[in-house]
């Protein structure tokens, strides 16, 4: 209420001076002046607008790191994600702040997703199947994996604008997320989305139609974040909803369908994805089948290797959890029966 009144008095600055109402106390003007916190989001939007304009009118003059097809959704998600994370960390008590490797994991995750979507790499990925598979690997596996590993939720939540924060905490939203983030739904969704966009007819439509292309990319990033947050939750259950064992089974279960689809594409004897032939391959020296073999291998090997990496990280989370819990007072007899990871980790 007060600030509203100050705004009215202070807004036409010239009138203020002319009428000699310089008596508005400086301290009150200071509360009206925007802090850097409030200015950064405007800076982000302004920067986005400049980038959008440059991309629209001067696509040939932009450097490689500039977007090929500017997307407000992708740009704002990355920029605001970064900003809220940094703000959130600053607002956190020094002792509770995430460690440096978690900052690095978050930063590399977000930057890698942004890099495959909002730079000229996107143009390359539209015109080589194996580069397109690499793009999907990064925006669905590696990038969200690193973001989930940094476990940034609490920091981001701390700096989010209040209305958005309330939305994130809304029980209905949480219920939907909880439903999607259960292994029985999350695992088939994770594999199903990869496969859906790889159905040749669907892939053709998604590549040629800008709108479907955007839907494909959003769905992949969102699903990647949901799935890896389910698996890489550092907490034990409760408060996490599923035990470490269930999460280990989940992450191994998604490996096999990816191996099957990846090897099917890698060994296919005919060109399944004609879009790249029609709209052109960036490296014409690479034939359709070579391109496809390489793409299939990317779906097959590195994608399923992520499952192994995640499996070991969950195992590590389990160990850390066990070590953080004080050992119960056990008799010598009980000690021999109970299973402790310290037996094989030696810690």
């Amino acid at each position: 209420m007060t600030s509203h009144r100050v705004t009215e008095e202070a807004s036409p600055a010239s009138a203020l001076y002319a009428s000699g109402v310089g008596r508005v106390p400086l301290s009150r003007l200071a509360t009206f002046a925007a802090t850097p916190d409030q200015l950064v989001p405007f800076g982000i939007v302004a920067g986005g607008a400049v980038l959008a304009w440059l991309c629209r009118d001067f696509p040939a003059d932009l450097p490689f790191w500039a977007p090929w097809e500017f997307s407000w959704v992708e740009f704002l998600a990355a920029a605001l994600g970064f900003w809220w994370y940094a703000r959130g960390v600053a607002l956190t008590k020094a002792v509770e702040r995430p460690s440096a490797w978690r900052h690095a994991s978050f930063a590399i995750g977000v930057v890698s997703i942004y890099a495959v979507l909002q730079t000229h790499y996107d143009y390359m990925a539209q015109h080589m199947f194996f580069l397109n598979r690499l793009q999907h690997l990064i925006m669905h596996h590696l990038g969200p994996f690193l973001v989930a590993l940094s476990w940034p939720g609490a920091s981001i939540r701390r700096a989010m604008p209040a209305p958005l924060g309330r939305l994130v905490d809304d029980r209905r939203v949480l219920r939907v997320l909880g439903w999607v983030q259960q292994p029985i739904i999350g695992a088939p969704l994770f594999v199903g989305l990869i496969d859906l966009w790889l159905i040749p007819a669907v892939h053709f439509q998604a590549m040629i139609d800008h709108r479907l292309y955007a839907v494909m990319n959003y769905s992949m990033v969102a699903d990647g974040l949901l799935f890896w947050c389910l698996v890489l939750d550092p907490r034990s259950s409760p408060p996490a909803r599923f035990s470490f064992a269930v999460r280990m089974i989940t992450v191994v279960a998604v490996m096999f369908p990816q191996i099957i689809v990846g090897s099917y594409i890698a060994f296919a004897g005919r060109d399944l994805y004609t879009f790249y032939d029609l709209c052109g391959r960036l490296f014409p020296s690479m034939g359709a089948l070579n391109d496809q073999h390489l793409g299939g291998l990317i779906v097959w090997i590195p994608a399923s290797m992520m499952s192994s990496a995640a499996f070991m990280l969950v195992l590590n989370n389990l160990r850390r959890h066990e070590e953080s819990v004080p050992l119960p007072e056990l008799s010598e007899e009980q000690r021999r029966v109970v299973v402790l990871s310290s037996r094989w980790t030696g810690r």
């Binding site: 001067f58 090929w68 040629i208 029609l278």
Partner: protein, 197 residues
């Protein structure tokens, strides 16, 4: 998106109605030397193709096939234009482009754009193009897509013609498709007026 009639007979080429944006570009017409836009081709069936005049195989083969198809169409071919957009504007000057297109058919229009105009067109239709000048390690290299987009008289996307640079070009089928598009009645003036807004 335009609803596709469920019972319509299948096209010989790939149906892309509603999948890509309507025809839009600004370039220089090699014949007149004047700037042209998509609006200048309203009322014509437009085929859009990217290429370059020094192309050793794909472009001459494609244009020769287009010329054959246009001959099949007879007098109605006058309502068709093939826009031959050069991806190599540094070497394809307007006179070069004009001479080259004239070799094949009068309905082929050479278009030359600035680097930005070309990039905008390629991005809009997801087409690939690149020029890498000769260096010590490789000769002058040009890459371009091989498919032809077909837009109807109102600039709406209709077909993608995949086969004209292959060893088995579907000349009869493509001629059929073009005839079918030419025979479709144009929308009434109300529909056309409403499209202007």
């Amino acid at each position: 998106m335009f609803a596709r009639p469920a019972l319509a007979a299948a096209w010989h080429n790939i149906d892309v109605a509603g999948d890509v944006p309507p025809l839009a570009f600004t370039m220089t017409d090699a014949t007149t030397g004047k700037p042209v836009t998509a609006a200048d081709f309203r009322g014509k069936l437009v085929m859009l193709y990217l290429g370059y005049t020094m192309c050793p195989d794909v472009c001459p083969l494609t244009l020769q096939n287009v010329a054959t198809i246009l001959k099949k169409l007879g007098p109605t071919a006058d309502d068709v234009r093939l826009l031959f957009v050069t991806v190599d504007p540094n070497r394809d000057t307007l006179p070069v482009l004009r001479q080259y297109t004239a070799l094949f058919a009068p309905q082929i229009v050479g278009l030359r754009g600035s680097a930005d105009q070309l990039a905008q067109l390629a991005r809009r239709y997801r087409l690939v193009y690149s020029v890498s000048p000769a260096s010590k390690t490789h000769p002058y290299q040009v890459t371009h897509s091989s498919a032809i987009y077909v837009f109807d008289q109102d600039g709406r996307p209709r077909l993608l013609v995949p086969s004209l640079a292959t060893t088995t070009p579907d000349l009869a089928g493509t001629a059929d498709d073009l005839r079918r598009l030419l025979n479709q009645s144009r929308p009434g003036w109300i529909a056309r007026l409403s499209q202007m807004f």
